[in-house]
């Protein structure tokens, strides 16, 4: 497809006006990643009973796949994450989003494991999503993109893993929405993973979380530049709406204590109140910054679709109203992790998962990490969390005959 198919993307209007984000659109059209294209003859069957074809999955890999193809780990990214786990981001230039956990000598050691991370279905970093070119209309999909689910995202990942010739993953690891994908893998592809590490997640999206997502979506859709999802055709972007969505969501990723400790009532670049609606407070300035940088790297429609997929996630309902049924017959070893100050996916959500796993006598470890960093803790420097993952991964690797760190294969 030619990049002409995606409209030029001039700045939106309002306080979040930005220069054209060409780099972002380039990542939709020709991502700086490996890409596997599944042709029209190999459609992806979706939960909404539509088929998506053709479709592409963009992914990154780190480390080397061994001859037995037994050392592969799939990392599942969260709502606004992407496949750039452990390399400089092609749009923002920032370090990989899980550099703390993944890399040579890290708890998920790329000297030892072949680590895969793909952009999720519905994303905007090269895997087919609403910003991608729709061959049927010869325009970006926009709202013609089918509503997808977490299970659909995992179906696309399964196709990628098949394409790589890997029968069984050593582990599937993810936090937040990534953790939902881990649970979906564990429930639906029991023979294809040896270990599962769902972090700061839930088997059922709560009413409160649906509520926050709805606020975000309404902010996007209330932006006149959203144009009923057809903003590409009008060469506009709902940047203001998407930025507000991000600001609201960002609050939910932190804890009250983290906000208070970091910002308090501090004023931004001034010594007194301005008696205006400027960003007087540091926290206002911080949130505005979060909003404005986010719109440079993310597609507004992708945000709608992905939050919807999370809202629809209910592993319990999908298994006859009994979560334990989802895991019946599993032989995988689980390591469930939560954080004390995470109020978005609180420990009790993780405990529900553990309870269901216990009910089928699955092999499960569960650790609650003491942290005041809120939901974001899973992405941050948390030594106890790293020690847990390292210990669990190393013990499981030893059990399954994978070489120890530093040991020659």
């Amino acid at each position: 497809m030619s990049s002409n198919e995606i409209s030029a993307d001039p700045a939106g209007t309002g306080p979040f006006a930005r220069p054209v984000a060409d780099a972002r659109h380039n990542e939709v059209v020709s991502p700086s990643s490996l890409v596997v294209h599944f042709p029209a003859s190999e459609p992806l069957k979706l939960d909404c009973e539509q088929e998506l074809a053709p479709f592409a999955v963009a992914y990154q890999t780190y480390g080397t796949l061994n001859a037995e193809k037994s050392n592969a780990i799939l990392i599942c990214h969260a709502l606004t994450g992407d496949q750039h786990v452990h390399n400089r981001h092609p749009v923002t230039g920032k370090e990989g989003w899980w550099d703390t956990l993944v890399g040579p000598g890290k708890p998920v050691d790329t000297n030892r494991f072949f680590v895969i991370c793909s952009n999720i279905l519905g994303g905007c970093m090269g895997t087919t999503g609403p910003a991608s070119f729709n061959p049927a209309t010869r325009r970006p999909y926009g709202l013609d993109f089918p509503v997808i689910t977490i299970a659909d995202m995992v179906r696309a990942q399964v196709r990628l893993v098949d394409h790589l010739g890997i029968k069984q993953l050593f582990s599937v690891i993810g936090g937040s929405m990534g953790g939902m994908q881990v649970l979906e893998w564990a429930a639906s592809y029991k023979d294809r993973l040896l270990t599962a590490i769902p972090i700061a997640t839930a088997a059922t999206h709560s009413a409160q979380n649906i509520a926050f997502h709805e606020v975000g979506r309404q902010a996007v859709m209330a932006d006149p530049n959203w144009r009923e999802g057809n903003y590409h055709a009008f060469a506009t972007r709902p940047s203001a709406g998407l930025a507000v969505a991000r600001m609201a969501a960002h609050i939910t990723y932190l804890s009250e204590k983290a906000l208070q400790d970091k910002f308090g009532r501090g004023l931004q670049d001034r010594t007194a109140r301005s008696f205006s609606f400027d960003a007087d407070f540091k926290i206002e300035s911080y949130l505005r910054h979060q909003g404005s940088t986010f719109v440079d790297r993310f597609d507004a429609n992708s945000y709608l679709y992905i939050t919807r997929a999370m809202d629809y996630f209910d592993l319990e309902a999908a298994h006859g109203g009994k979560l334990a049924n989802a895991f019946r017959g599993t032989t995988a070893q689980f390591c469930v992790v939560s954080f004390t100050s995470d109020w978005l996916y609180p420990t009790r959500d993780s405990k529900e998962i553990v309870k269901a796993l216990n009910a089928v006598a699955a092999n499960v470890s569960f650790v609650e990490i003491e942290s005041d960093k809120g939901h974001d803790a899973f992405l941050l420097e948390e030594p106890e969390f790293f020690a847990t993952i390292r210990g669990f991964v190393n013990a499981a690797a030893a059990k399954h005959g994978l070489a120890a760190p530093g040991e020659l294969v």
Binding site: V354, N358, N363, V364, S365, E368, I369, A387, G391, F392
Partner: protein, 223 residues
């Protein structure tokens, strides 16, 4: 729940399979003798994972642990043991019947809120239950209470009454009664002293109750 006797260390989170480390606790050695090789084991109140580690090394068991203390759980998982944070009183109900060959409660039952319910759950979850506990019927405990008129404090029961978590201490005879009450068959009962020496008494329950500092029972549900 917490152990009344804290195991000594090896909670560094490193080198779980190293040959070095403190010698195994006496009741752990006795429990390990009761466990068949290669079996599935749930250790309720597993502390720092010393028993699971011992059973893994000597009996090649498929072991799981439940522990109340978050720090200890995290240390266990970091050393490669399958352990969850949980409470014997609250969380055993979530396990299915006969999911394990052995459900073990070592030096923990006296610290539970409802020992009877906990024991019933152990007998339901495991084909066998193994329970060890400090014996409140030991002669030293009896004489301390008799002569001082105060709650006994021994090497076995080191905490003052206002600090101990042992809310439900019992004697060996009391435990035999509870086992009968919950319809459990005693497959093996061992009374031992603080150095882990089994008492050479098999027949007399009264003598075991008088001379044993601790006891380990192997039980199973009747019928």
């Amino acid at each position: 729940m917490q152990k009344s006797v804290l195991p000594s260390g090896n909670g560094s989170g490193k080198g779980n399979n190293g040959s070095a480390g403190p010698p195994p606790r006496a009741d752990h050695m006795l429990i390990a003798e009761m466990v068949a090789p290669g079996s599935r084991v749930l250790d309720v109140g597993c502390g720092d994972g010393a028993l699971l580690d011992l059973l893994d090394r000597t009996k090649n068991v498929d072991g799981r642990g439940v522990e109340l203390s978050r720090e200890r759980v995290n240390a266990c998982v970091a050393r490669g043991l399958s352990v969850i944070q949980g409470d014997a009183d609250r969380d055993l109900a979530d396990y299915p019947d006969q999911a394990f060959d052995y459900a073990i409660l070592s030096l923990t039952i006296q610290a539970t809120r409802e020992p009877k319910t906990v024991l019933e759950n152990l007998l339901r979850i495991g084909r066998h239950a193994i329970v060890s506990f400090p014996n409140f019927g030991h002669w030293l405990v009896r004489t301390q209470l008799l002569f001082t008129g105060r709650m006994p404090m021994t090497d076995n029961l080191p905490e003052p009454w206002w600090r101990t978590l042992d809310a439900h201490l019992c004697t060996i005879k009391d435990f035999v009664d509870l086992a009968a009450l919950v319809n459990a068959e005693v497959e093996e009962a061992v009374a031992f002293n603080s150095s882990g020496q089994r008492l050479p008494i098999k027949r007399s329950l009264s003598l075991q109750n008088l001379l044993g500092e601790k006891a380990v029972f192997l039980l199973r549900r009747k019928g």
